[in-house]
Amino acid sequence: MAALKQEVIALNGDEAVAYAVKQCDVDVVAAYPITPQTIIVERFSEYVANGEVDTAFICVESEHSALTCCLTAAATGARAFTATASAGLALMHEILGVTSGCRAPVVMAIVNRALSAPINIHGDHSDSMAERDMGWIHIYAENSQEAYDSIIQAFRIAEHPEVLLPTLVGLDGFILSHTLENVHVLPDETVKRFVGERKLPLVRNHEGKLVPFKLDPENPITIGPLDLYDYYFEHKRQQEEAMRKAYDIIKEVHEEYAQLSGRRYGNGLVEPYRLEDAEIATVCIGSTAGTVKTVVDELREKGVKAGLLRIRVFRPLPVQDIIKWLSDKKAVAVMDRACSFGGNGGPLFHEIRHALYDLQNRPPVINYIYGLGGRDTPPYLIHHVYQNLQKIVETGRIEQLVNFIGLRE
């Protein structure tokens, strides 16, 4: 099927997110403004004020309440969205676990920003990486176009009856959130049809009846009550199962969307760039991939077999794709825009290295921590990473496993 003709409009990353949410027929938006996410809330409240959407917009006093509103709305079968960043996400932490435990498919945009202290409003991944284990699906966008596309896909993924997991879409603070870009947008009706109505699975209630999974006075059920050593463990195992199922659903939804829009991001979970015949590769998340692709092109012109694997979905971790794309490389560098203090490397490094451990001949994998607090990461720094990878291939030796790049020594 040929991709639809689409309107091109100039939007920054935050506006692209708000525009996507506008088209997704969302019932409830509850949010609290925080830089660099504020534009999402501002734009969306304008849509509400102008009567462009039929959404209950709840102004709350904190992010903790924002997510609580969305969680409870989603528990009634509604479609709910919120957005936050940095300290706002940290304040939500408790409710992140309640949301995934209640299997409430809330979609949330995280405009990735550094955590205090010292206070810093610029982009890095410290905020959402700190929420790695809260049972949310993590999708990270490389540009504003992808942020728009990912929000639309996120509702389908989160609300899939076999998944029912809250989903966050990360976009880099300022680099994406405040930078104008030409964004192709689908017609309203197309998005509405693609996202569709929420389909609720049936659950057995306390009377032994099968009823839709939602809080409804006609068919009352209890969601997320006290659960001790007798059943808590079983419910957590169900969340793990949902994550495993999400792998295929993410792929399917991404492919269906690609047919519609003509836009594809690898297989929806990882995006390889000139990686097929590459000998050395970097792995990264988010907007930095754009810079890395430019560097890869420059290196290829010089005959260096360089490639990139961009991790689009961090949870569920696409282990089989990581193995598929990296197992035959001669050296791999993982770029982390977050620091796991005392953890012998950043969070992405841990995951990639772990995924490759069982291979008979695994490539050497090194780590670069970069860009904390919005520190610029220009092409020459990425060149430095590839130069070091070439050196590792030549000498067969890693001098330093965990490195800091763009830092004054």
């Binding site: 209630n205 306390h206 009377e207 007798d230 463990f233 079983e234």
Partner: protein, 95 residues
Amino acid sequence: MSPEYKSWKEIPIAGVCWVPSTEYKTGDWRTYKPVWDSEKCIRCMLCHIYCPEGAIKYNAETDEMEFNYDFCKGCGICANECPKEAIKMVLEGKE
């Protein structure tokens, strides 16, 4: 874990209760057990009113206060409220 418990594949998601709370017995949480003295009791029903679990009932046929030990968690509110000290909290197993 006892075989009477269900596996993660058999239970509803999100902790949705598939049995009513009357079938989920919580009496084994109890450390102290209320023991009732018919002689001292004036049948004022304050224990019945105050019991947060609804575990104390008056049986009109036998004229006795009945304690449902499947649900009594041993909080001792009944003993505290009893104006006649007709309820004593006794360590479980020592009654």
